[in-house]
Amino acid sequence: MKPFQYIRPTRLKDAIEAVASNPNARYIAGGTNLIDLMKRGIVSPEKLVDINGLPLKKIEKKTGFLRIGALALNSEVAQHRLVLENHPLLAQALNAGASGQLRNMATVGGNILQRTRCPYFYDPVFPCNKRKPGTGCGALEGINRTHAIFGLSENDPAQSCIAVHPSDFCVALSALDATVLVVGTKGERRIAFGDFHRLPGNSPDLDANLEKDELILAVEIPDAVFTKHVHYLKIRDRASYAFALVSVAAALDLENNRIKAARLALGGVAHKPWRLFEAEKALVGQPVSETTFQKAAELAMPSAKAFAHNAYKLKLVPNAIVQALKSAAALV
């Protein structure tokens, strides 16, 4: 590992200035992704700005939304009363991720900004446009079993990236229309969750629409009716402690066995959490039934495109959507 300078500021301003003033400086929170990448030489910061001295741990109810501080741990969020009462989908998604140990270390901000788990990104021997723009994509002609089927670049795919965003938490945040509150040298701003992560396009090295010096302060989740009929379904190679092949965050608001409102988002299928607006629309007003769910699931698929090893996702995704909706609606 390359040597680095380590600082632990206690004032927000100092942390931001430290990163703004050095192109090779990085924030570090739980370290569970960054240290991994540093050990492999994929990221080599000159300066590490430890943000754990900043007061960003609070989980609080505000008028109209729940605010979760960027340094709240994944385990703390998953068991927090306000989260369980207002947004149980978030707790389900968090508990489906990583392990007890990792959830005790991983923070909200770090989870949102974790890098892909594409094996070609992690292995410097292979070309990777995300790691080194312009070198090509190792997964395109390689083993692409875990890769994307949605949101692929329409330009030259060799200039792009077919990796997926690995977070479970983010799939639930996307379904719940969260907002990310950030601050940088130019001040504070709020970013709608759907605009936060990027599609790969021709600059897959960038995961998020965030300036380098910008620090995530919190995520805010608007009050919603999705407190009861929610389900996070995660399908993976083993029963636990594995990233999603496909995951579905489903939330329903039901009245007299009819759907008043619905939210659906997928994980493991695109460069960012994949929201299914059309399918959501198709669910509204419909009776709770397997047929309703199947129709909605079909609407998710037309834009999908598979590669040599991930065609199974074309079948798995609609099945998983139906299953998640059935579980959310307690339809057995």
């Binding site: 590992m1 040597p3 680095f4 300078q5 380590y6 600082i7 632990r8 500021p9 206690t10 100092d14 570090i28 370290g31 569970t32 240290i35 991994d36 050990k39 000159e46 300066k47 590490l48 430890d50 754990n52 001295g53 385990s75 990583a98 392990s99 007890g100 140990q101 990792l102 005790n104 270390m105 029963a239 636990s240 402690y241």
Partner: protein, 209 residues
């Protein structure tokens, strides 16, 4: 000041006797090491350090206050094993994927291979060496023996530290729940069913962990 002079050749794992002697000696050296003139408090770490410099930190390991001089690149796992001779904590994958390096930081189970030691200023670390009460084994250690919760034993320190947390966190009420909340600890020997039995036994026995 380094805890150990560099260049000490570390005997291989197959030389048990040498290793024990080495450990005793090293721990003695560590215990005698003088505290360098000034130790940085958390706030003082704001002062940038030269990348080549060592950083001084103070932390508590198994109840003992330690003042150490460390390379900022050192993980907590390497600090424990290489610098302090606490080799109970194991390095399996070194990338967060196996749980062999599980220790408690301020009472919470974490992975020491994905933690920089320099970030642990002021914290309380408990390793498997700190689990027993002198020669009296921890109830989970007893239960692992009783239920044959290991074969080669490599994953065991991590399993034990995780198992303590699993019960303390309130996630040990059934076999299924234990399986889920212990999933961060892999066992190459496949001792899983007996590990689950050991944890359930301690949980239902009600012994404080």
């Amino acid at each position: 000041m380094d805890e150990f002079p560099d260049g000490v050749s570390r005997p291989g794992d197959d030389h048990q006797e040498d290793r024990r002697f080495f450990l005793k000696q090293s721990l003695a050296i560590a215990g005698l090491t003088f505290a360098p003139v000034s130790f940085l408090q958390a706030a003082e770490l704001d002062t940038p350090i030269d990348p080549a410099d060592k950083v001084k930190i103070a932390l508590t390991i198994n109840g003992t206050q330690r003042r150490l001089s460390i390379d900022p690149r050192s993980t907590l796992l390497d600090l424990l094993r290489e610098q302090l001779g606490l080799t109970g904590t194991k390095k399996g994958c070194d990338f967060g994927q196996c749980g062999a390096c599980t220790v408690h930081i301020d009472g919470q189970r974490t992975l020491s291979c994905l933690s920089f030691a320099v970030m642990q200023q002021g914290r309380k670390i408990t390793t498997v060496e700190g689990l027993s009460n002198g020669t009296q084994l921890h109830p989970l250690q007893e239960a692992f023996i009783k239920h044959d919760g290991f074969q080669c034993g490599y994953c065991t320190p991590g399993q034990l530290m995780s198992a303590v947390s699993c019960i303390r966190e309130g996630h040990a009420s059934s076999e299924a729940e234990i399986q889920e909340y212990m999933s961060g600890n892999l066992c190459r020997c496949g001792a899983y069913p007996n590990i689950v039995k050991a944890i359930l036994d301690v949980k239902t026995g009600g012994d404080p962990v």
